[in-house]
């Protein structure tokens, strides 16, 4: 027995009054490394042991305030800087709306930090191999006894003196507590094969679990709900219809939007007679006409409509639009040519909308007038 190392000398008491008196006495004797173990917190014990007030609330305060400002910063950055979005007419930085989350984050961070600090840093838990563990003393104080334990490494510790002190206080079951042998002789066996294998297995398991969790379980496919919709798109097959085509021809007697049929097909005279330019010669319409003329007409007709094609013989040059014949044409006649084409000129109905065609007509008229201005134009 003598090779064991003494940890402390313990004594038990039956009532809270006795233990308070004992703690006060031990404290006043000048012992520093002693502890009182009670099944529940006994009021007045902190002052009997002259314990300072716990400073853990400061942890709560510091971490809480930090958490609050981090939350505010994060919300500001995400909702006002990185991805600003107006929602419900609120400003990008909608402070009142952030208050609830600031509060929640404050509470969450402060609570976790305080408890973790207490358990892991202040108490140094988990600690299941403390010498007091599994002793009769511990089994008593965890039920209904009040114990005091004076540690052997206290500078004033003297086995007999402490023993008589405890006896004089009326302690029962005065017992010395020793370190457990296996704890004292404990040597970490880092390179034992078993341990190494266990570590490797653990490593593999953690990696596998992490991989599966992150890449399989928690993997969210990118949004593709817009790309892959269960609708029929152009040129697609569809089993809904008998002929198996997804695209349908218009119903008899209907006109698709923007596809009003042209009444004067193959009838240039009637077109010249009945069609009237609906557009006024405004600057806007003329510039639209100029733009379209320069794009679609000028390659053959030339920028000034003189038939000086830029294609230079690769395509038959058209006649000038300044000829008397064309000048005497009505707007509708010219419109008909653009719509239907003439000789080598194809129809431009697919390139130019109705309005654009009339705008081109206006522009041609302006060009014609620029070369053959009347007397009255000069005034």
């Amino acid at each position: 027995m003598s090779d064991k190392i003494l940890y402390s000398l313990t004594g038990l008491f039956d009532t809270p009054d006795e233990i308070i008196a004992a703690a006060e006495k031990v404290q006043s004797e000048g012992y520093t490394k002693y502890d009182v173990n009670t099944p529940y917190p006994v009021h007045g014990m902190d002052s009997a042991m002259k314990l300072p007030m716990s400073r853990l609330p400061y942890v709560a305060m510091v971490v809480g305030i930090t958490g609050m400002f981090l939350a505010l910063f994060f919300m500001w950055w995400t909702n006002s800087v990185d991805y600003p979005l107006v929602i419900g007419g609120k400003p990008y930085f909608a402070f009142p709306a952030y208050v609830p989350i600031m509060f929640e984050v404050t509470v969450l961070s402060a609570s976790i930090a305080t408890v973790v600090t207490m358990i892991a840093i202040v108490f140094k838990f988990p600690n299941n191999s403390h010498p007091l563990m599994d002793t009769e003393y511990m089994k008593n104080v965890s039920v209904d006894k009040y114990g005091i334990s004076i540690a052997a490494d206290d500078p004033k510790f003297d086995f007999d003196k402490v023993k008589s002190l405890l006896e004089s206080l009326g302690a029962k079951n005065i017992t010395p507590i020793y370190y457990k042998e296996e704890d004292l002789n404990f040597k970490p066996k880092t390179f034992e094969p078993k341990f190494v294998i266990a570590m490797i297995v653990l490593f593999a398991a953690v990696s596998a679990v992490t991989y599966i969790t992150l890449n399989k379980l928690m993997y969210l496919p990118p949004f593709d709900w817009m790309m892959e919709q269960s609708k029929v798109i152009a040129q697609e097959r569809s089993d809904v219809f008998e002929d198996g085509r997804g695209m349908r021809t218009p119903v008899e007697g209907t006109v698709a939007r923007g596809f009003l049929p042209y009444k004067f097909k193959n009838n240039p005279e009637a077109a010249g007679k009945y069609l009237v330019n609906p557009l006024a010669a405004t600057e806007e319409n003329l510039s639209l006409g100029e733009k379209k003329f320069d794009i679609y007409c000028s390659p053959c007709h030339g920028y000034l409509a003189e038939g000086d094609s830029r294609l230079k013989g690769q395509f038959p040059s058209p006649p000038s639009l300044h000829s008397k014949k064309v000048r005497n044409w009505s707007d509708g006649r010219i419109y008909h040519v653009i719509t239907e084409g003439q000789n080598a000129m194809p129809s431009y109905a697919y390139q130019l909308s109705r309005k654009e065609r009339w705008a081109v007509v206006l522009y041609i008229r302006a060009l014609q007038r620029s070369l053959n201005a009347k007397e009255s134009d000069l005034q």
């Binding site: 042991m49 995400t78 509060f103 609570s111 928690m218």
Partner: protein, 455 residues
């Protein structure tokens, strides 16, 4: 009528048991094999849970069209159940934190169980937002993390506040509960005989050795946690009420919603705690720990919070009239006399009228009667959420789109399933952990504290 002597403090625990007796009594249910009654109860709750699980399976497979939700009533049972269960949880924190701050010693007997109930109720509640999104596997997008779309969540949305509030609430409640359990695990460890049990308790007790140098910090942290949990519990149901109240819908948008929801939550939660404790004190012979006086005090809190809820009903009605805004007035008249008048009057009678019976001392102290009233309170509080959600929606601003909401079998099965889920946890809890805090009960036992002598 026995008169009370005001010069003496009433003992919290009756019959002056010794500390050893307390220890044994509370630890006993953990040593015995569960009896037949336990298995019967468990099979009932599991059946309910199964019904809910099947209904959920159908919902996720076929979609939320299986529910009764229709066009104006886009929020149906899931929200009602969510608010109901979060509310149930609130009593736990109120008992463990707020009454702790007020130094109400009678709370010590019921705090542990109420805290456990909080955790299970919040777990149950937490399911419903996931259910309600219809595609629960996409709920991950509620978490603000740098995702592949460079999108962030909208911090202006009260639904997102909910995510933070409920998860914070669950975490903090769990921490609070576990911190309270540490000394009890140590006590259980020191009396455990079997090796397996001892190991398990050792792990969870973290090596607690009842040291006063630890108690000193422990009590301070417990106080700090209670100080945090108190505003937290207010904030959680406040934020739940914001889900409704930040809108401009008449019947939802009322400034009284936050305190009104909190009072209602505490109200229903106390009723639930009282209901379950009545069984527990009987089955585990805790009648002298969870005393009739404690139950009476709970009933007083029920009547107080019930009256607060009644005050809120009255103020809503008055303000709707006083505002002079026609849609406001219509909503409230429609509530009380429209197609959902039946639900409204169930709510009013169960929440405001029946609890008033607790003014009578005899009823306050009669266990069968208080049990029935508390059940009615829970029915009433469920209907309160139903009334708020459905009646405000079913007749919206456009009369042509008015409709009547009828729950389907799936809706009801999910509701039953939530009860199954909750009570399954409760049953497992009663058999695996001490439902009464050993250390806290010892601390308020008569003669457990030193006589306040100054030396």
């Amino acid at each position: 009528m026995s008169s009370i002597d005001y010069t003496q403090e009433l003992p919290v625990i009756e019959g002056r048991p010794t500390l050893k007796e307390i220890n044994e009594l509370i630890a006993k249910p953990l040593d015995q094999k569960p009896d037949k009654k336990f298995y019967i109860a468990l099979s009932i709750t599991l059946t309910m849970l199964l019904a809910g699980a099947i209904a959920l399976g159908f919902t996720f497979y076929y979609g939320v069209g299986l529910w009764g939700n229709n066009n104006p009533v886009g929020w149906g049972f899931p929200i009602v159940n969510f608010v109901f269960w979060v509310g149930i949880g609130h009593a736990g924190t109120l008992i463990s934190a707020i009454l702790f701050l007020f130094r109400q010693k009678w709370r010590n007997g019921i705090a542990r169980f109420a805290e456990g109930m909080t955790i299970f109720a919040v777990m149950t509640a937490g399911l419903f937002p996931l259910i309600h999104v219809g595609r629960p596997w996409l709920a991950g997008y509620l978490i603000p993390y740098p995702n592949q779309h460079s999108l962030w969540v909208d911090f202006n949305s009260p639904l997102l506040w909910d995510v933070f509030a409920v998860s914070t609430y669950f975490t903090v409640s769990f921490i609070f509960w576990y911190v309270g359990l540490i000394p009890d695990f140590a006590s259980l460890r020191d009396r455990a005989v079997g090796k397996v049990k001892k190991t398990i308790y050792s792990i969870f007790s973290l090596g607690w050795r009842h040291s006063n140098r630890h108690w000193s910090h422990y009590e301070m942290v417990y106080l700090v946690l209670a100080g945090f949990a108190t505003p937290l519990v207010l904030s959680v149901h406040t934020i739940v009420s914001f889900d409704f109240a930040v809108s401009i819908l008449p019947g939802w948008h009322a400034t009284i919603f936050p305190p009104y929801f909190v009072a209602g939550a505490v109200f229903s939660g106390f009723a639930m705690v009282q209901n379950v404790l009545i069984f527990i004190r009987k089955i585990f012979n805790y009648e002298h720990i969870i005393t009739l006086d404690t139950l009476e005090k709970m009933n007083k809190i029920i009547i107080l919070t019930g009256s607060m809820v009644g005050y809120a009903y009255a103020m809503e009605f008055f303000t709707a009239w006083y505002s002079g805004v026609q849609p406001e007035q219509f909503t409230f008249i429609n509530r009380a006399f429209g197609p959902y008048a039946w639900a409204y009057w169930i709510m009013v009678s169960c929440n405001v009228i029946f609890p008033q019976l607790f003014w009578i001392r005899k009823i306050r102290r009669s266990i069968p009667v208080m049990f029935v009233i508390a059940v009615l309170v829970n029915v009433g509080m469920w209907f309160e959420r139903f009334v708020i959600t459905v009646t405000s929606l079913h007749r919206d601003f456009l009369p042509s789109s008015w409709a009547y909401f009828k729950p389907t079998v799936v809706d009801v099965a999910i509701l039953i399933g939530s009860f199954g889920f909750f009570f399954t946890w409760i049953l497992l809890f009663t058999k695996s952990l001490p439902v009464v805090s050993i250390a806290e009960i010892k601390a308020v036992n008569e003669g457990a504290q030193p006589s306040h002598g100054e030396h």
